[in-house]
Amino acid sequence: MSRKPYHREVSKTTWFLKQSRYQHYMLHEISSVFVAIYVGVLIVGLFRLAQGPEAWSGWLAAVTSPIGVIFHILVFIFSIIHTTSWFKAVPQAMRIQRGEEIVPGNLIIGAHYGVWAVVSVVVLLVAGVA
């Protein structure tokens, strides 16, 4: 038997370093960790609020401390990354056909940004910021 197929090994730990599109994918995946942590922080805040004014102001002081602010900026950046990379992929998962036409991807992405903007404004209004 002359055959001797050669198998190239793929590293289970560093494969994503090989291509920029894999790195983008990893960035997208990692960004979700920050979103998750922030959800945790908010839940803790809610918990603190239930415990009374002192607990609440302690939490408030923590999140507005310099470290808290840096943390918020980081989370904000990763949330943006997470959201935009998801929105970019939406037309693939959400293919809408009307008659013989496929609704253009940009329209679907645009609609998502639109809804995002509206929800953000509503949240800010409710929060009394705007």
């Binding site: 038997m1 002359s2 055959r3 001797k4």
Partner: protein, 584 residues
């Protein structure tokens, strides 16, 4: 040597081979099928067919119309019993393919849509955008996966037919990834190995179209029929030879020369209506259009380009929407390969070798003169194409005659019972293996494959092109004979076993040289002009002497022996071929 015992061996897994395999599996599921191909089925060249497949389906059409178009399109060299059967069966075959999932383009009502094609009196070409062959091939391949009796042997290069006492029983093939010789031993063989466009340097045909099956049958004593008829497609991309479908013109594309003039009106194809008139101008038959290019070139009215002389295909008026919907591949190919976007630019085109009308001689049941051997598809010549095939008849042909080959092979297998002589065949297989081994053992071979191939290519291009004459043909025959002699001293440079493409190219070249020789000799001996065979020294059709099929028989040591066979004429007597306004 590995031995695969089976009932029916099919060589080639393109459109015809797959259709034959399915026909066998449906006719008798107990029969074992070995489907042997030198490529994976979906790589077969059927995938490159673009425009469509003709079949009568619309109210305004009739089987007689399709019959008449095909017979006159073939310049009366077609066998009319075969054509009648073909036009009758093709609508059923196309419908069958629809049931199997082929994504035919549709009308708003949901019925299949048809488009006009060259030389056809009525629009009757079923199409799947401009990837019809691709979709047909993949539909057939995927459908074939349903049948457990079809056992595929992908990437096995077939070397020889196994013949015992005049009966074809199987073949030997090399498993390309191991280099191991395998004997496929059965009761009957169907060859569906495709054409041989690669004998020419400038062709739409893929690298695999090297006439292996034609040469194999020919060496085994089966005649090759009408080999002088080689179709030039009028619209290939210059440089690469990539096909731009006749569908471009079916949808309304125009051919213009350097003055922007629709020159086809000067060649009995007018009037130059602004709308597509069927059987006229750009919708004339391929032979006439390619010949018109030759004359325009002689008159100095073609356009010089870096790839040689061209004319322009103008599709700009079709608009982006229609081009994207009907001709997406054409747009992709034109933009990529010649930098011309059909939506905004004129696309340079020129005639390019496309199809072999000739092939392994078969009857209307796809049976060759040798017991147990069938052939279908481009490798075969039934003949429904005669001296010039109409566009969109070849995809139909591979379905109709692929299926017939399968069904008749099943009938044949039922009649033969148990066959003796396996030991003799194993010895034959051993001889076939020794011949391959001798290539490996040979030392000091002086002839390089690439050089021999180039010599063969250029010789045919120069002597067996759109127009031929006595002197150029004699010269071609001499030079091909020389190439054939030199091939005996060919040098195999790669002596390894695993996926040795040097070996397969060497064997393919051997097949191509045999086929090329039949083309040249058959052309030399046909002293008339008919369809795609145009002689500058015999410009008229000569029904008295040449309303006959050329039969080329193998001669191991010299030129093929040429004989002739009668053409079957049933209801259409030879007449003048009329196109343009006069055909209305």
């Amino acid at each position: 040597m590995k031995v695969v015992n089976t009932d029916i061996v099919i060589i080639g897994a393109g459109g015809a081979g797959l259709r034959a395999a399915i026909a066998v599996a449906e006719a008798d599921p107990t029969l074992n099928i070995a489907l042997v191909s030198k490529v994976y089925p979906m790589r077969s060249h059927t995938c490159a067919a673009e425009g469509g497949a003709a079949g009568v389906v619309k109210e305004s059409d009739s089987l007689d119309y399709h019959f008449n178009d095909t017979v006159s399109g073939g310049d009366w060299l077609t066998d009319q019993d075969a054509v009648e059967l073909f036009v009758n069966e093709i609508p059923k075959e196309l419908t069958q393919l629809e049931h199997w999932g082929c994504p035919w383009s549709r009308e708003d009502t949901g019925k299949v849509a048809v488009r006009p094609f060259g030389g056809m009196k009525i629009m009757r070409t079923w199409y799947a955008a401009d990837k019809t062959g691709f979709h047909m091939l993949h539909t057939l391949f995927q459908t074939s996966l349903k049948y457990s009796s079809i056992r595929r042997f992908d990437e096995f290069y077939t070397t020889d037919l196994m013949i015992d006492d005049g009966v074809c029983r199987g073949c030997t093939a090399i498993e390309m990834r191991s280099g191991e010789m395998t004997l496929f031993l059965g009761k009957t063989v169907i060859i569906c190995s495709g054409g041989a466009g690669r004998i020419f340097p400038f062709t739409t045909n893929g690298a695999i179209k090297t006439g292996d099956g034609m040469a194999m049958a020919y060496r085994a004593g089966v005649p090759l029929k009408d080999m002088e008829f080689v179709q030039y497609h009028p619209t290939g991309l210059p440089g690469s030879g990539i096909l731009l479908t006749e569908g471009c013109r079916g949808e309304g594309g125009l051919l213009v020369n350097k003055d922007g003039y629709r020159y086809l009106q000067d060649y009995d194809l007018g009037p130059p209506d602004p709308w597509p008139r069927l059987k006229a101008m750009e919708l004339g038959p391929r032979d006439r259009l390619s010949q018109a290019f030759y004359h325009e070139q002689k008159k100095g009215r073609t356009i010089p380009s870096k790839w040689g002389d061209v004319v322009h295909l103008d599709m700009r008026h079709l608009g982006e929407k229609k081009i994207n919907e009907r001709l997406p591949l054409v747009r992709d190919l034109s933009r990529s390969y010649v930098g011309a976007d059909p939506v905004t630019d004129l696309v340079p085109v020129r005639p390019v070798v496309h199809y072999m009308m000739g092939g392994i001689h078969t009857d209307i049941n796809a049976a060759t003169p040798m017991s147990g051997l069938y052939a279908a598809g481009e490798c075969a010549c039934v003949s429904i194409n005669g001296a010039n095939r109409l566009g969109s008849n070849s995809l139909g042909e591979l379905l109709v005659f692929g299926a017939r080959a399968g069904r008749h092979a099943v009938e044949y297998v039922k009649t033969v019972g148990t066959l003796e002589g396996d030991a003799r065949i194993e010895k034959q297989a051993g001889d076939a293996e020794s011949r391959i081994k001798s290539l490996f053992k040979r030392t000091g071979g002086k002839q390089r494959v690439a050089a021999l191939r180039r010599d063969m290519n250029m010789t045919l291009e120069e002597g067996c092109g759109i127009y031929r004459d006595e002197n150029s043909l004699i010269d071609t025959c001499t030079r091909i004979a020389d190439v054939r002699a030199r091939y005996r001293d060919v040098r195999l440079e790669d002596k390894s076993n695993v996926y040795n493409t040097d070996l397969y190219q060497t064997l393919e070249l051997g097949a191509m040289i045999e086929v090329a020789q039949t083309v040249a000799i058959s052309a030399l001996q046909r002293k008339e002009s008919r369809g795609a065979h145009q002689r500058l020294d015999f410009t008229a059709r000569d029904d008295e002497n040449y309303l006959k099929h050329t039969m080329a028989f193998y001669n191991p040591n010299g030129d093929p022996r040429i004989d002739y066979a009668d053409v079957t004429i049933t209801k259409s007597q030879p007449a003048a071929r009329v196109y343009g306004g006069a055909a209305a």
